[in-house]
Subunit: 190 residues, 4 copies
Amino acid sequence: MRTKSSQKREALLEATLNLVNNNGFHAAPMSKIAKLAGVSPATIYLYFKSKQDLINQLYINSKIAFTEEAFVNYHESMPVKKGFELIWFNIANYKIKQTCASSFLAQCETTPMIDSKIREEALEYFKPLLQLWERGQQEEIIKPIASHILYANAIYPLTFLLSSHKRGDFILDQEQLKIAFKAAWDSIKL
Amino acid sequence: MRTKSSQKREALLEATLNLVNNNGFHAAPMSKIAKLAGVSPATIYLYFKSKQDLINQLYINSKIAFTEEAFVNYHESMPVKKGFELIWFNIANYKIKQTCASSFLAQCETTPMIDSKIREEALEYFKPLLQLWERGQQEEIIKPIASHILYANAIYPLTFLLSSHKRGDFILDQEQLKIAFKAAWDSIKL
Amino acid sequence: MRTKSSQKREALLEATLNLVNNNGFHAAPMSKIAKLAGVSPATIYLYFKSKQDLINQLYINSKIAFTEEAFVNYHESMPVKKGFELIWFNIANYKIKQTCASSFLAQCETTPMIDSKIREEALEYFKPLLQLWERGQQEEIIKPIASHILYANAIYPLTFLLSSHKRGDFILDQEQLKIAFKAAWDSIKL
Amino acid sequence: MRTKSSQKREALLEATLNLVNNNGFHAAPMSKIAKLAGVSPATIYLYFKSKQDLINQLYINSKIAFTEEAFVNYHESMPVKKGFELIWFNIANYKIKQTCASSFLAQCETTPMIDSKIREEALEYFKPLLQLWERGQQEEIIKPIASHILYANAIYPLTFLLSSHKRGDFILDQEQLKIAFKAAWDSIKL
DNA sequence: CATGAATGAGCTTTCATTCAT
DNA sequence: TATGAATGAAAGCTCATTCAT
């Protein structure tokens, strides 16, 4: 008896990621996903309940991978600015390295395709950043404003820069990153 | 004067906008668009070459409407900060009023569905803002950095705030708008 | 503009009837039905909401055709035995002539495939026979027993005879019919 | 003594019976049958050649169980009417007790799914009843007519009554049974 | 003997688009 | 210009059956 291999699951998720990224959701039919992953269409349904489930899982997976990278080397004991800088560059570098995953995530944020329950689930993983900001606010380093505004101005701009970078309109090298970081920090620091 | 024909065109564009917005691209079949616009499916093809063309036109249309609003009451003779403030609030208020149109545009920015040629065409309309920034840089009011970074930090955050607002996670009233503007301005001012 | 032809509807119903009859429900895929009716699979859905709907409609259609034939030349003023004899032979001859339709109906009676709501709807058409039996009971010609038992003994046996006939096990000619009628009548007469 | 294996065979047959009965042939996939019987889908093929074979076996099995019950306590030495009465009530009571099995058999009689070879095989088991009728005809108690007609009028009506009973349209209690028996007997007695 | 994974073929249904009027 | 009917192609998904252990 064969056992379900997580390898196949991964292959399916990756195939989906690539297809969705190159041509959009509507151009990622199950048949193509199967072919790209090297399995039969029917096999997909051993690993995922439906196409929607596959997309949801891919979203969660990507989000987890993303947040894991975001907090590499970070520790709560760090000074606020140092901590933020670390996280910010972690995110930026992840986006640059994992163009595919991150532009998939960008698509997910604006599409009504992802179930809102799944979206909320993914939010949880970002808590350390929110806690860092709260600490910064207590220490009067960060502006005492809503975390949504902090996120919009400090982190979200990276999404735009990355998509410009991917399209080739703008080259986001380490120098530009530093400049962008300065702008981000200026927007939230007291 | 609006002819009968152009009325139908408008109706089709609006129907598409509503459908895409409520359920995503994949839930906006031509038959539903036709029904919602009160015409026959065949009629769509008298006004648009294909579904892709319809989407493209809708994108361009929305972008034009958006930029028109962005520059209402703006004149090149305005002081830089005043001008930016005007444009920023124009954009913000447009997004709040026209949730549908603006979240459609947000979807378009991240989806590979829009032809890149069309996307470039739409960029043109934003020139006055870029020119304002250039002026601000000459007057040493605005940071001397790439316009992509300026845009990412000063304008793009609104997209995030708006989608949070639409989802009900965060209420973007006039008070919050002022706070958000301050953050935006801090990120780009010298 | 073309108009929906009831011809096509009929063709689809007949195609379904033939396929179901020769090979059972499970061997009547929409694609074959379409081919046999000379239309595209998609066209079926212009005339029927779903496969279930197609089957339901076919059942209703067949049942109506059947009952219409059952009461040809019958009038309430007829003497009870004459009336019953007429109806009984109408039914028998219809079954013999329309083997296909009637063995389809036989299948429907025993299968859980037909929605019970539809089944009840079809029952209505049989009322004149029940009324005849009531009259017969008042005149003390027919046994004063439940109509279900009357039906089971007087009419239902024909279903068995017909399916034997169809299979070739037993030839149901006019002579045998007369014998069978006698048995039916003996079972319900006082 | 029942071996482990034959237990599994029984479980599979019963699972199939239940599924087919509740939802029809088309809603009894092998995977569900396996699950309900508590075995792997692959295991089914150790006991049955194919799904068709499984259905055939189930039909034969049910038919044998049915006929065994039909002739309980019956002996060729009995007087004709007594014998018939015994058999008739045996059948009726079996149908009432074993609703599932008997409505499965009813489905089988009208469906083209059962191989005709298998159907003939099952006929064999009914011989004692036919012999009883022959005896009755020699003794001039039973009408000298084809056995198919005898069966159609004396036994087959029970199928209708049972399905009405199962649907809840008509309650078939012991009183009604007696009435129905009278009708059956009247139809075949000389 | 028994299994859960795996699958190719086929299912019902929908879609963007064209036809005939 | 405008239509509703019509459609080939393809979508998501399921099924009876086989594979590998």
